[in-house]
Amino acid sequence: MNATAGEVPVIELRGVTRILQEAVPVTLVRDIDLSIRRGEFVSVTGPSGSGKSSLLYLLGLLDLPTKGHVFIDGEDTSGYSVDKLAEVRLAKLGFVFQFHFLLPEFTVLHNVTLPMQRLGRLDDDEIHARGMALLKDFEIDDQAKKRPDQLSGGQRQRVAVARALANDPAVILADEPTGNLDMRNSEIVQGIFADLAAKQGRTVIAVTHDKDFADAAPRNVHLVDGRIDSDTRR
């Protein structure tokens, strides 16, 4: 653990603008300054089309800014190669999307262990054990041998969260993780995210339409038209 981790933001955007160069250029987000500290639980809200997903992709190094800089652990990522960006994503970031995006050919367990196998820090037995432990955390260890299409929507989303946590990332980025779930499953997944932040000390950034989910987070960033409209802490 870095002694200065408390002071240096995990992710910081400075003057970030992202313009899609289409026939008519589309501005996704504009002049964003945003600093996220280690262990923060931030909800991102805003009307449809306000740029929430776009902001999340920039925070997660999936997309690159047209203007401005993204800092990870205080380091400017502007000059990073594609491979270096992939490496940072592999080790430090975990994504959860609205659709689970699990690989249909693989078992639930294998889906969760894939990022660990790619990273290669653990041996086979450790990977298996960690995979099973993650599934157990989300009470789906009994489904380990099944394929994703044999699971319910809520179970799949829990597998996706387990996969995002596989390499023990500092930051979890989620784009409407409960958007496709019914009330009950939605509450379960919400609870998981709250625990990730509160009990495991991870940084969680979650885009959501759900008022309850947004209110559960200590900090809320509200977007309108690609700009930060309000940034409130409770």
């Binding site: 994503r89 970031l93 994504f95 999307f97 894939l114 196998q117 390499n167």
Partner: protein
């Protein structure tokens, strides 16, 4: 480590699409199988034909000719002079190879060499008021047995009987039928200079080669010398050597030494040997075409997987897989299909060879049934396998690159 991940993903994606994978693997396998079979047949028949060529004729023939006309004496006298001479005719000389006896003697000393002095000429064979023009071959029956397969192709009588009967000759079945000649009949043989002799048929052969069967008559060289009025002359030295592959070199040496035109079997059959090259080109083109079709199959399946898997590729990349990892996943799929196709293809090739090997061919006129000549070697299997794997990798290359170029954010932006 991540190698194993790429291979694992590749295997999972292929086995998920079992039917398509099997079809494209079978495409490769058929290509390899047919290559193995046709290649074995082609090189088998090539070896067979070369063997026939070698058995039916001497390896080297020295002729009483020169490659270039002898230079005029005036040019030899004034090599530097500005001399022109028009309307000259090369000097006539008494045809025949000088000192052929000594040359044959010397050649025969070499281990594995059989040399025979022979006199070739033309004559007309006449019987019951029918004529046939014939090439006359004055030979030594003892040596002829080793030089050509005439003795093996005798249907009646034998070449050896030339030695025991006076004025005997051996003719082909075609000529015998045309003239109505049978064994021990006396035919009239007329030479170009007008000499007429009566000769007894002591043997009838049939080689299957029309030129020989209808137009060649064998006799002792001394009978030919009398008939053609060329006493003591031989105009051919016919040679068989231990290793026919070096015939060309030896022929060149002999020609350089004695000056007489000396032809190797390769030179005589140059056109024919050129045909083998063409046949090989055809074989490889056809197999190349089969493999190209198989490659399209592989290209097709992997392109389809890449198209269908864009979302999965994007998610793998968002997780932190690099472009190179993704490219490997799809290249490995090509290698899988190529390798499995190769092994299956070897199996198919073996089955095809088994089937080809059991085909029996009955050539009319030949007593014994023939089988297809097959040359089965590691060569065909190796080349076939190389074809399979390399075309599979080439076919996978383009879709794999395409997969590596996927930008995950584009896909994810579109999907959510």
């Amino acid at each position: 480590m991540f190698w194993r991940v790429s291979i694992g993903i590749a295997a999972a994606q292929l086995s998920y699409r079992r039917r398509q994978t099997i079809v494209s693997t079978l495409g490769v396998a058929l290509g390899v199988g047919f290559f193995v079979a046709t290649s074995a047949l082609m090189s088998g028949s090539e070896q067979d034909m070369v063997r026939r060529l070698l058995d039916n004729a001497p390896h080297i023939t020295i002729k009483d000719e020169f490659r270039a006309a002898a230079p005029q004496p005036v040019f030899m006298a004034f090599p530097e002079g500005a001399v022109t001479l028009s309307s000259t005719k090369p000097r006539e000389y008494l045809r025949g190879i000088k000192n052929h006896g000594a040359k044959v003697e010397e050649l025969s000393q070499q281990p594995g060499v059989i040399a025979e002095a022979a006199l070739m000429g033309q004559a007309i064979v006449r019987y019951a008021s029918k004529d046939a023009s014939a090439g006359i071959a004055g030979i030594d029956p003892e040596k002829e047995r080793f030089l050509t397969t005439i003795e093996d192709n005798m249907r009646e009588g034998s070449l050896m009987r030339l030695k025991t009967s006076s004025q005997g000759m051996v003719i082909g079945r075609g000529m015998a039928t045309r003239l109505g000649l049978g064994m021990d009949d006396l035919a009239t043989v007329v030479s170009p200079t007008g000499l007429v002799r009566r000769m007894k048929v002591v043997g009838i052969f049939r080689t299957g080669n029309l030129l020989l069967d209808e137009g060649q008559a064998y006799m002792l060289i001394k009978d030919a010398q009398v008939l053609l009025d060329k006493p003591f002359i031989a105009n051919r030295i016919r040679i068989k050597i231990a290793d026919p592959d070096i015939a060309e070199d030896i022929a060149a040496q002999l020609e350089a030494r004695w000056g007489y035109r000396t032809e190797s079997w390769q030179e005589v059959n140059r056109d024919f040997l050129g045909l083998f090259v063409i046949r090989n080109v055809i074989t490889y083109s056809i197999v190349g075409a089969i493999m190209a079709v198989a490659s399209f199959g592989i290209f097709n399946i992997i392109s389809t997987i890449v198209m269908e898997k864009r979302r999965d590729i994007a998610i793998l990349m968002s997780m932190g897989f690099r472009a190179a990892d993704i490219q490997w996943i799809f290249l490995v799929q090509g290698v899988f299909v190529g390798l499995i196709g190769m092994v299956l293809g070897w199996g198919i090739g073996l089955v095809l060879l088994q089937m080809l090997g059991s085909v029996e061919i009955n050539v009319p006129g030949l007593m014994d049934t023939q089988r297809l000549p097959l040359a089965i070697g590691f060569f065909q299997f190796g080349i076939g396998g190389l074809f399979a794997v390399s075309s599979a990798v080439a076919a996978a290359w383009f879709p794999a690159r395409k997969a590596a170029q996927v930008r995950p954010v584009d896909i994810i932006r579109g999907a959510t």
